[in-house]
């Protein structure tokens, strides 16, 4: 039976494994983290009183599909230490870290979470409702003695003595769904990220939405103004990123509309170079957005703490005059970069790249990559729905490749 290793369980990996399963191909979905979902799981739902078609909810949908798909095996807490090409396909050396909590026995009572002394060490898996140990936050990882959760568990589902195991895995093909890394805005010091209170990256804003932190604010603490700065880490030749990240105009606009929906009084400004088309019915969406959002064609020269301690943005106005304006919050719309580290580690032949479309990037026709496939943001910036489209397409390519292998015909 042919088997495919899908590396990375973000939206691309999930949808690829699901599609392969639907087409009768077995796959092993490998994820280093204790949870599936990848970057997509960090995004919040942007629905106002209706869906804004961001697609972030689809990750939940695909996890439940994967759980029902007999042809997909999900390996969490699993790293890939080494890989080599074989006559058949690939051999991967897996390092499986223990999950500590056996989900089959867990009754989801939550007692372990109540007794755990470290606040972020035991988390609820949003997909199954089970609990899992986030080892990097657990006291054990800091060489401290603690077995509070193990002792209280009424189902004896927790075993903290489990050790990691290394294992070889032979597969017929490998699909890299390693996604992207968000740009670290601290690399652009003039935007004040990490120094100026109130300056957030778009991912911080996502987290605030997800945790319902805006709803929990008292009336007086609610932000009265927010600025979105576009193209942070995109379209920037100084940092070697001569490309548009494609999704940021969309997510900033959706966030802006969501904030406007939650707090109709809030003043939203958006600093941009060119607004990129996002989604169907764009004209209509941009019309609505431009009524709610103050669109400013300028990228700020500096963001610093203003006189009242809020972030103050300096930019050039239409007539070249210097304008300084304070906002309660500033969200930096960080762009996408390739996930360099994981790509380099998995297939030695693919080197770390500074940019998605660099000259040394993946080429499916190169025999060095025979049996290797890339999908989703590993190939370049994509929206959630484009990543799914991509995975369905790559599933068809993999199926085609495996069939050719089976019938003994050499695949060009």
């Amino acid at each position: 039976m042919k088997k495919v290793a899908v590396i990375g369980s973000g939206i691309s990996g999930l949808s690829l494994a699901h599609e392969l399963g639907e087409a009768g191909v077995n796959s092993i979905l490998i994820e280093t983290l204790p949870l599936p979902g990848g970057n997509t799981a960090r995004f919040s739902c942007k629905a106002t009183d209706s869906c804004q078609r961001c697609g972030a909810c689809l990750v939940q949908d695909y996890v439940s599909k994967i759980c029902r798909n007999d042809r997909v095996e999900l390996l969490l807490n699993c790293e890939i230490l080494d890989s080599r090409q074989t006559a058949k396909g690939y051999e991967l050396l897996l390092h499986k870290n223990p999950a500590f909590i056996d989900h089959l026995s867990c009754s989801k009572c939550g007692i372990c979470k109540k007794v755990c002394p470290a606040p972020k060490a035991i988390l609820v898996d949003p997909f199954t409702g089970s609990f899992f140990i986030n080892y990097s936050e657990c006291l054990l990882s800091q060489n401290m003695q603690c077995s509070a959760c193990e002792q209280v568990c009424p189902e004896q589902a927790i075993n903290l003595e489990l050790q990691p195991i290394d294992e070889n895995l032979e597969v017929d093909a490998v699909a890299l769904a390693t996604g992207f890394e968000a740009f670290d805005p601290a690399q652009k010091p003039r935007f004040g990220y990490g120094r100026v209170p109130g300056v957030l990256s778009a991912l911080d804003l996502e987290e605030m939405f997800r945790n319902g932190r805006f709803e929990n604010l008292q009336e007086n603490d609610r932000p009265s103004s927010i600025a979105f700065i576009q193209c942070v880490g995109s379209r920037d030749s100084k940092i070697g990123r001569n490309y548009c990240s494609r999704v940021c105009c969309g997510y900033a606009m959706r966030s802006a509309r969501l904030l406007k929906f939650k707090f109709p009084e809030i003043k939203v400004s958006m600093f941009y170079m060119d607004i990129q088309t996002f989604d169907r019915d764009f004209e209509n969406r941009i019309d609505k957005a431009s009524q709610e959002v103050n669109l400013i064609r300028a990228i700020p020269s500096e963001i610093r703490s203003g006189p009242s301690g809020k972030p103050e943005i300096t930019y050039y106005g239409v007539n070249d005059q210097v304008i300084q304006e304070e906002f309660d919050l500033v969200s930096l719309s960080v762009g996408m970069g390739p996930a360099t580290t994981s790509l380099a580690g998995i297939l030695g032949t693919i080197e770390p790249r500074a940019d998605f479309y660099g000259s040394n990037s993946f080429n499916p026709n190169n025999p060095a990559f025979k049996g290797a496939f890339l999908t989703g943001c590993a190939l370049g910036p994509k929206t959630i729905q484009e990543s799914i489209d991509d995975s369905v397409h790559v599933a068809s390519q993999i199926e085609f490749y495996l069939n050719k292998q089976q019938s003994g015909v050499e695949v060009e």
Binding site: A23, L58, A99, T128, S237, Y243, D274, D389
Partner: protein, 555 residues
């Protein structure tokens, strides 16, 4: 050491129904095309041994009739495995059955001369016309002065997209060999969100192509012999300039094909998905439409760039093969019509979001088209449709009804009906908090909840009823969430007596049968709410539950 690393538990599934239907035409595929997209799909499907008919869209003019390809004469109808289409081919009308239908018409490139107040001429052409001239090696209009000035108008009014910008970039890159050429691009937003586009744009700029980006003060055009003089305020220098280009190249607006409604309107709910074949909900991805066996490729779903269209073409082949080789039904229950109760009122035919219901002497649900949303069950005024075990489908009647809801253990608790696509997923991560306070029923779609079921829950000992469905526009059953919301509003209206006889759009009384049996006193102590949520918004569900608890304690 007994490690259970694969912690995600598999639910067992039933696999039945390898074939679509008994008299299925599954080897026959109808591709509605018009350019290379349709041709490519047809040739690919022929290669894998399918019987393909490549047709042009519905005949609209006499000129069309002279084409060699068979022309559709009307809308396509039917179900997967049994679609019906009528053609005119060398003066003969024929009707043919098909297993699959693929929509692959070309994009409509709408010229924008009128939008800018310009007239087409030898020196004023569209970008695709210029590309054609370059491809065919045709000469461009003569230069007037020493330098050859080409002005490109992109996205000055309306909206553009990366595909159009890449057309401009293609043109300029390929005109490099012209001596003493100066190119100008007049735009508002440069749509650089495509592979390599930003890079190519920068290279053009470094090589002397001038880009003007306007915000408000758009350029004006003045007639000048056989061309136009462009008058504009340079956005950076704030100075007035004028330019009379040797060639003025205008962008086009890429639109979906215009005959989608006429051709596919019987198959998909086009009034909702307009102007595309794919419905708005993000759950319809890749080339899938809400109708089984109907696929939308490229422009028919709003995809215009060549690379993505090629991707769609390969995907559609995969989707057809997948159904042929791996068609399976993972459902254990499916809706079935009780012929003796069906009044052929066509409510279900009208409301099925997947176009799965047809009728003759009673409503007929196509098993392979049905996606199990259950809307028909909830909407049938005669109560003639019910879930039945799928392996008992043949000759089934509603005596096989599966009793799903039992409200015996609900005393003092909140009953939650949660859509499996959204609310039920969201609830998983907060389940441990509410374990003892709620009773949960997972439903395929909020739209499948019958009035009777909701009333039964209200009439039980439960303290309140909360229904969680998808956000508007996100429903996998297109509008099941809205139908459910409406139903709950009308039940609440009936209970509170706000309106004595509410009437819906269809003219049907909205007072649900059975509402009168609710004792007013009894009903008053209850709360019935609908909440829109998504699988990743447990906090919305939490807020809804706590606001109900608040309401209950206020009562």
């Amino acid at each position: 050491m007994g490690l259970k690393l694969n912690s995600y538990i598999k639910k067992s599934i039933t696999i039945t129904k390898p074939k679509l239907t008994e008299d299925s035409q599954e080897q026959r595929v109808l591709v509605v095309g018009g350019d290379w997209i349709g041709e490519e799909i047809a040739s690919r499907l022929q290669k894998i041994g399918l019987d393909v008919t490549l047709s042009a869209a519905i005949a609209t003019s006499d000129a069309d009739l002279n084409q060699s390809a068979p022309l559709l004469t009307g809308p396509i109808d039917g179900q997967i495995g049994q679609f019906q289409a009528t053609f005119i081919e060398s003066d003969n009308h024929t009707s043919k059955p098909f297993g699959f239908v693929i929509a692959a018409q070309p994009a409509k490139a709408k010229e924008r001369f009128n939008l800018y107040g310009l007239k087409q001429s030898q020196r004023v052409i569209t970008v695709s016309k210029l590309l054609a001239l370059i491809n065919e090696g045709q000469p461009l209009p003569e230069r007037v002065g020493e330098w050859y000035h080409i002005a490109f108008i992109d996205d000055l009014i309306g909206d553009s997209e990366p595909t159009v910008l890449s057309q401009f970039v293609d043109c300029i890159e390929r005109l490099k060999s012209i001596d003493k050429l100066q190119a100008y691009v007049f735009t508002r937003h440069l749509k650089v969100a495509g592979p390599h586009l930003e890079d190519r744009y920068r290279k053009l700029r470094e090589n002397g192509v001038i880009f003007f980006k306007f915000d408000n003060n758009l350029p004006t055009f003045e007639t000048q012999s056989d061309s136009y003089r462009i008058l504009f305020e340079e956005p950076l220098l704030k100075q007035d300039f004028e330019l009379t280009p040797d060639l003025l190249v205008i962008d086009e607006e890429l639109r979906p094909p215009e005959d989608l409604k006429e051709t596919f309107g019987q198959l998909v709910p086009f009034e909702i998905s307009e102007p595309y074949l794919q419905t708005e909900s993000p759950r319809f991805n890749s080339v899938l439409t809400s109708k089984a066996g109907v696929f939308a490729v490229g422009p028919t779903r709003g995809i215009y760039d060549r690379q993505s269209i090629i991707q769609d073409i390969e995907t559609v082949e995969f989707q057809v093969k997948k159904i042929l080789d791996h068609s399976k039904d993972s459902r254990s229950l499916a809706p079935v019509v009780d012929k003796s109760k069906c009044a052929v009122c066509l409510t279900c035919v009208r409301l099925c979001p997947h176009g799965a219901i047809s009728f003759s002497d009673s409503a007929i649900i196509s098993v392979p088209s049905c996606q199990n949303c259950g809307i028909c069950i909830a909407e049938c005024p005669m109560g003639a449709i019910a879930y039945s075990q799928i392996n008992q489908l043949v000759g089934a009647n509603t005596s096989n009804i599966v009793k799903e809801f039992n409200f015996e253990d609900c005393a003092g608790k909140i009953v939650l009906f949660l859509c499996s696509r959204s609310a039920a997923q969201a609830f998983k991560s907060i389940e441990f908090i509410y374990k003892d306070d709620v009773v949960v029923f997972e439903v395929n779609c909020a739209g499948s909840l019958q009035t009777k079921t909701i009333l039964d829950a209200l009439n039980s000992q439960a303290s309140a009823v909360l229904v969680g469905g998808c956000f508007k526009g996100n429903c996998a059953s297109v509008y099941g969430n809205i139908l459910c919301d409406n139903r709950i509003q009308s039940i609440n209206q009936a209970i509170t007596g706000l309106e004595s006889n509410p009437v819906g759009e269809s003219g049907k009384s909205l007072i649900p049968a059975g509402a009168a049996t609710l004792q007013r006193q009894e009903a008053k102590a209850k709360v019935l709410r609908f909440v829109q949520t998504a699988g990743n918004t447990p906090e919305v569900l939490m807020r809804a539950i706590s606001s109900i608890s608040q309401e209950l304690s206020d009562l």
